[in-house]
Amino acid sequence: MQAPQKPGIHRGVSTYCWYPLYNVNMDLEDSFQIMQDMGAHGIEILADGIIDGYPYPSKEWLNKWFAMCDHYEIVPVEYGHWVESRLYRGRECTVEESLEQLIHDIKLASYMGFTCMRTKLGVIDEILTPTQIWRDVIRKALPYAEKYNVVMQPEIHAPTKLTDQMIMDYVEFIEKEDTQFFGFNVDFGTFQYRAAEGMPVFGDRTFDPSMPEDIIPLLPYIHCCHAKYYNVNADFDETTIPYVEVVNIMKEHGWNGYLLSEYEGPNKTDYNHCMTQVKRHHVMLKRLLGE
């Protein structure tokens, strides 16, 4: 595998960009080819929808995964998974039921070569506060994350802001546990300051974004980011998120990790549109990163 491992900011793609198209217009190998074309070596998969037979893939499927990573120079970066809390009607999952899901994904992610996990926890309110038992679940999973060498990362996603209490709680937890195996994935949608053209605005949503500099104190805990984009125009500028400011701050502070493209704009079922957007996004990122 010749993909970049040196320090600095690297480019990658989340399979989220193309999710409605899988099994209709394209498959995982097509994604790898497109990523190789763009020199975007890091991949995030959404494990559930990408791994055939999830959560128990066959040896044959796993061998094909390794062969494709090798052939297309793809680095497994982030394994997207969920810890479901409302699995059954009328009650929340116990700590044990949550751990059963989480530990299985830790082992599978590690086996597939991933170093990070996007660990999506169940929520209890409108600002996406995680379930009451999250500390207990994560604390009990930490020895497994350490043994299997993967970092669990909740995704910090709008409407959550980087200055919210939830983030302070996560930081306090990381420091108290003195662990490197729990961190964040910051979704750049938290910086979105206006609606994208062609996108409906749900309910009374107003844009009250995080400021680019809000990311600075959190950088030590961030191992990869969702480089969310809604619209990259023909001049290769994202029109809803202050990319220049955010990426420059990350560069100046010497952040190391992957920016994983995550398309959430309109026309997600339009193959040509999604491919054009991801390529424009990587032209923009290459220029910003000075590649």
Binding site: P20, Y22, V24, E84, R86, Y88, V123
Partner: protein, 138 residues
Amino acid sequence: MLEMEAIQYKGFRNLYNEAGEAVGFQVAIRFVAYRGPWLSQFRFGFVEVDGERFGPDKCTFIINGVEYTYDEMATLGRVKWPLKEACTILVKKPGGLAQGLHKVVIPFKEVASYIPARMDDLPEDGGFFVQSREMIIV
């Protein structure tokens, strides 16, 4: 391969008993999503054909060859409906569907713990989660 739409043309036909009498029909659906549900998180309203509704008591669900009732699915939190598989819904309807064009409506969704719980339930009429397609019985 799957079709892009949630309701699949593929698999839409009448069902017959050994005597050759039409006893119902089948229609297949897929999740246009980035994950498939655990069976316990599947929420289904009805299959409606030209205004006639068939609720969960008239339907069974085949996923990867295994047939489930809706009540059985509710207990299966560790069995996955794979994203790349369509679910074939078998609907009881003596006489089956007439040859020709039908408007098929199926509201369904999955429970997702990462969004607020107020979104767990499927509205009685399906609301935002209604899927529909014009389909032909040959």
